[in-house]
């Protein structure tokens, strides 16, 4: 036997000696952990009064629901993609298709609503830079608990598509962060929502892709 073959034999011996019983990974368990963290964060935010004063009135308008459902939809699409990506057998292409479809639907609905609810005001006024930057920052800050939960789950799993997993993690976490923050945000202008909420989700996805990809390698 070659020295290399012999070292493989030694290694197998060590791995066998090291063997301990393990509990097979279950996707529903990961989903429960992720959902639990996300809902706890939302519950805490609402319990601490993190919601707009005119919430009941705002809920009568379509823009409020578009904003909420877009953030929630992207968070769910990203979350499902992440849970799938943690399985080593998952292929990247369906993940991208799912995320792209969710984003396209959100943008399409937004474009239609933007046409219906055209706001006759200067663009810079509509964007409200100061408030917008706060929106973006808070959305990203509120994405951290879900991002930490995903990182915890990913380290225990075996994602074989680190870049796709990291990007999906970014979409899921920042989508959820934007959803939690949206309860307190009084803005409903489609342009504002697209730029600042969309910007937060895009920035979160890019940051996660860059920063998380090396961490997810194993």
């Amino acid at each position: 036997m070659s020295p290399r073959g012999n070292s493989s034999e030694v290694m197998i011996g060590r791995l066998v000696d090291d063997l301990q019983p393990v509990v097979p990974r279950r996707v529903w368990r990961d989903a429960a952990i992720l959902g639990g963290v996300a809902l706890t964060e939302l519950g805490l935010a609402l319990w601490l009064g993190h919601q707009r004063a005119d919430l009941h009135e705002a809920m009568r308008g379509p823009m409020f629901w578009w904003k909420m459902l877009t953030c929630l939809g992207l968070a769910l699409a990203g979350g499902i993609a992440v849970l799938a990506a943690l399985d080593p057998e998952t292929r990247a292409r369906p993940l991208w298709r799912g995320l792209a479809a969710a984003t396209a639907v959100a943008l399409l609905v937004g474009a239609v609503l933007a046409g219906v609810a055209a706001v006759p005001a200067p663009v810079m006024l509509r964007l409200d830079m100061h408030e917008g930057m706060l929106c973006l920052m808070w959305s990203l800050l509120m994405s951290l608990p879900v991002l930490a939960a995903i990182l915890f789950l990913a380290r225990r799993a075996a994602p074989t598509r680190p870049r796709a997993t990291a990007t999906a993690a970014g979409v899921a976490a920042s989508g959820w962060g934007a959803f939690v923050f949206a309860w307190s945000c009084p803005h409903a202008d489609p342009l504002y929502v697209l730029v600042w909420f969309g910007g937060a989700i895009l920035l979160g996805a890019i940051a996660a892709r860059v920063l998380l990809t090396p961490v997810l390698r194993w």
């Binding site: 290399r4 073959g5 070292s7 493989s8 290694m11 197998i12 791995l15 066998v16 000696d17 090291d18 063997l19 301990q20 019983p21 393990v22 509990v23 097979p24 990974r25 279950r26 399985d87 080593p88 057998e89 292929r91 990247a92 292409r93 225990r156 799993a157 075996a158 074989t160 598509r161 870049r163 390698r217 194993w218």
Partner: protein, 185 residues
Amino acid sequence: MATAPRSDDVHGRLMAAAQRGDKAAYRLLLDELRSWLARYYRRRLPEAHVDDAVQDALLAIHNKRHTYDPVRAFAPWLAAIARYKWIDRLRTMTVHRTEPLDDDIPDYLQIGDHGDTVISAAVLSELLGTLKPGQADVIRLVKLGGHSIDEAALLTGQSPALVKVNIHRGLSKLAALVEGYDDVA
């Protein structure tokens, strides 16, 4: 709920037993997987990287054994792990230069399985064919041929800095290309 692998999936049953802590089943499984992995990597990597890749994969299988779901077939799970470690090895090749074989070693000791070498060369050649000629040339010279950066620069007419850039970009593209494929064992 207790689950059991399909009765015809021998490796799946062995892994399910290993997940419960059965060391005899685990040894049997790893011994068989070692041979399978060696064949897998010989078709995809230069001979010098095969043993390291096999050991990396065995370690990954050990560390990630809880991610195998016993109700599913074992082969796709194994193929996914093996493929991931293959890409990992390609990425490693962007960082570490292949050392040339010692000239003092007699030729008959340097030659491995000729059939596997031919298959490996064919697969690598096909993959390298997707790169720009400048990138493929320097990868062939430095990573597979064991030439130094300076030698490759002299042979290709590229500057040493460009050789390094082309190797890095070429292997990164190769890794991304392989990563994008839905490979089967």
